[in-house]
């Protein structure tokens, strides 16, 4: 051990290089985890917040209904099942249906969303997006429309339009509705298509006093995709409690785009980790080999004096081990340190296009970071293993030296 330490001190540059080879991949991976965690959590928040919730209860689809969601005639029994569960943070009933919106000779296909306005704050920032007029209340008999739709139909605040319900499973409801508010949508398609109204009004359109298409649910304690297990447990519990004819859809099912992102994240991280770890390992192998070669005569002497092969290997591995431990410790300190600093500052502010885009989708324009203990342990542990494996080859080589040849070795 002593000899190993002194060797390292004698070749400071090489020791530092090896240290860096261990430290950098760890710190890099921790930082990447940090960004990705926060990014995924933000994406999760913004997408579940826009309308999905953590999960939804829906009617099982028994026939093709095109773009319309299957109708629940009366979700009272589903709501009763929901009441029996403990870990529901929040839920609301919603009725979505395709419809025709008509003003004079202009008719457009729209998507009517009937909500309980007082309840939807956790999943919608529509109230904040009103640019003219006001948001809905449960007593409202009117609608709010996007700026784009208002323009297409020539609507102003207070104008009336006709809505004709077009759900294949619902009756044909036709109603006059005043425009109570106009909102600015995060994307033009939303602004052209979505018409928000109270649940009661939507039910008039569906000619059913009790119809719904979804019960949107948020689960206690879920902060992001890392709580997937918790969500899954809640979903299973709910499925067991629900009567037949209903299904529970999780957020990934409801947001296949996110599912796609999530699915590429892990392989992407894995590839980055492999590249960095690989490079780190190469440096470790290289520097250790150099170290062994430099000490060929010394190693020859040690073997001649009677050290076993295992002992010789142990010596080399001990040196590698010390550097690895140091590298791991510093790597973790630097990596976690950066994450904590960024967290303390509330994130790295973004600018330009990126910031504008993020504001559009309702996410604050900062690059945030967050890390979990298992991720830190994984980064540190994996690199430690890689470094020690990389040390194996030079150690083995040292142990196989022939003492007399080694002692005669001239650099």
């Amino acid at each position: 051990m002593k000899a190993a330490i002194r060797h390292m001190m004698r070749n400071r540059r090489r020791t530092i290089l090896t240290l860096l080879a261990v430290l950098i991949p760890i710190y890099f991976l921790i930082v990447m985890f940090g960004f990705i965690n926060a990014m995924v959590t933000d994406m999760f928040e913004s997408s579940t917040r826009f309308d999905t919730g953590h999960m939804q209860i829906r009617a099982v689809e028994t026939r093709a209904t095109g773009s319309a969601q299957p109708l629940m005639g009366n979700p009272a029994d589903a709501l009763a099942a929901l009441d029996s569960m403990d870990d529901i943070e929040w839920s609301t009933v919603r009725l979505d249906m395709p419809a025709l919106a008509s003003v004079g000779d202009h008719t457009r296909t729209v998507f009517v969303r009937g909500v309980v306005p007082e309840e939807i704050d956790p999943v919608s920032n529509m109230a904040d997006r009103i640019v003219e007029g006001e948001f809905l209340t449960s007593q409202s008999t009117g609608v709010i429309v996007g700026e784009e739709l208002a323009k297409l139909l020539g609507l102003s605040l207070g104008d009336e339009m006709v809505l004709l319900g077009a759900h294949p499973e619902a009756g044909l409801g036709a109603i006059h509705v005043p425009v109570l508010g106009i909102f600015n949508a995060p994307e033009a398609t939303i602004g052209r298509t979505f018409v928000y109204t109270s649940l009661g009004t939507a039910r008039q359109l569906a000619r059913s006093a009790t119809a719904a298409t979804a019960i949107v649910i948020r689960i206690d304690g879920v902060r992001g995709p890392q709580d997937a297990a918790r969500m899954e447990r809640a979903a299973d519990e709910l499925r067991a409690a629900l009567p037949g004819g209903y299904e529970v859809q999780g957020w990934l099912e409801l947001l296949p785009v996110m599912d796609g992102y999530m699915k590429i994240l892990t392989p992407m991280l894995a590839i980055m980790a492999i590249v960095f770890f690989g490079l780190g390992a190469l440096v470790v192998v290289n520097t250790l080999y150099l170290s062994v070669m430099e000490r060929t005569r010394e190693i020859g002497l040690i073997i001649a004096l009677g050290a076993s092969r295992l002992r010789v290997m142990g010596m080399v591995l001990a040196e590698a081990g010390m550097i690895t431990v140091a590298g791991v410790v510093y790597g973790v300190i630097v990596g976690v340190g950066i994450v904590l600093i960024v967290q303390a500052f509330g994130g790295i502010p973004l600018w330009g296009q990126m910031a504008a885009y993020m504001r559009e989708v309702g996410v604050p324009p900062v690059l945030r970071m967050s890390i979990t203990a298992p991720q830190v342990l994984l980064s540190a542990g994996a690199m430690a293993v890689v470094a020690m494996l990389a040390a194996w080859l030079p150690a083995r080589r040292a142990s196989k030296l022939e003492p007399m040849e080694a002692m005669r070795y001239v650099e």
Partner: protein, 260 residues
């Protein structure tokens, strides 16, 4: 907005302009080819105009609703459907003028519908406006026929078995149609297949009446692969009635509203 199949292609009312003479209905033994048989079948609904009452019982997802419609057609371009039942929908309905389509409700007035709504089921199931106003068994198909020995089948009077395969470029959703036709050139059964050869729905015709030289079924029961069912009965059918084109207007709906 669509039921993908709301179609009752051959059924009910019609509107081919009488492009050919009404055939006298004969039980002919002369060797008729497939196209000729089909033409004779179609002929039962040919007429310049039509007026009648249609009663629908639509069973969708286990729930049954009843509708009653009063239907007028003039040629292939003009059609007006007035809803009589249920009472809540009284005097609402559809108006077709060529490719333009409107829905009218006494509550909200008229709403212009997009052109493709013409193919959508009027009530979520059952016939679409296109079915109501236009016959669709036409030039889009190649027809072949087989004679059936009806003496072997006591339940059926079918004499011919027609197979209709749409032309490759025909704007038709079916893969194939099969029709059982009686010796009187009346359809007994019509089976619709999708592009994969699966049965989409089956229409069974009964209660055949004679109107002048026409013979056609007034009751049609359609069942589809989801288990939904529509029973359609035609009451008081009248062909070649005197109708004015001006009748086919929103004002007609409005006038009913006022008079009640």
């Amino acid at each position: 907005m669509k039921r993908s199949i709301g179609v009752l292609a051959v059924v009910t009312m019609v509107g081919l302009l009488a492009s050919g003479p009404l055939f006298a209905q004969e039980s002919a033994d002369t060797a008729l080819d497939a196209q000729a048989i089909l033409d004779r079948v179609n002929a039962a609904w040919q007429g310049d105009s039509f007026h009648g009452i249609m009663r629908l019982e639509i069973t969708l997802a286990g729930a049954t609703k009843a509708h009653a419609l009063e239907v007028w057609t003039l040629g292939e371009e003009l059609a007006l459907v007035r809803v009589l039942e249920p009472e809540v929908d009284l005097n609402s309905g559809y108006l077709q003028l060529g490719d333009d389509l409107w829905y009218y409700s006494p509550v909200v007035g008229s709403i212009k519908l997009p052109a493709m709504a013409i193919g959508d089921a009027l009530f979520g199931a059952g016939p679409s406006l296109a079915d109501v106003s236009r016959g669709t068994l036409s030039d889009d198909y190649d027809v072949t026929v087989e004679e059936i020995d009806s003496s072997t089948n006591e339940e059926s009077e079918a004499r011919w078995f027609l197979t209709l395969v749409p032309h490759l470029d025909a704007p038709v959703v079916f893969g194939q149609l099969e029709i059982l036709v009686t010796a009187d050139f009346v359809m007994e059964m019509l089976i619709y297949y999708d592009q994969r050869g699966e049965v989409l729905q089956t229409a069974v015709f009964s209660d055949v009446i004679e109107l002048g030289e026409r013979k056609f079924a007034t009751t049609i029961v359609i069942e589809d692969s989801f288990g939904d069912r529509t029973v359609q009965r035609i009451e008081s059918p009248l062909f070649d009635v005197e109708l004015d084109a001006s009748f086919f207007a929103i004002e007609t709906f409005e006038s009913w509203g006022e008079s009640e």
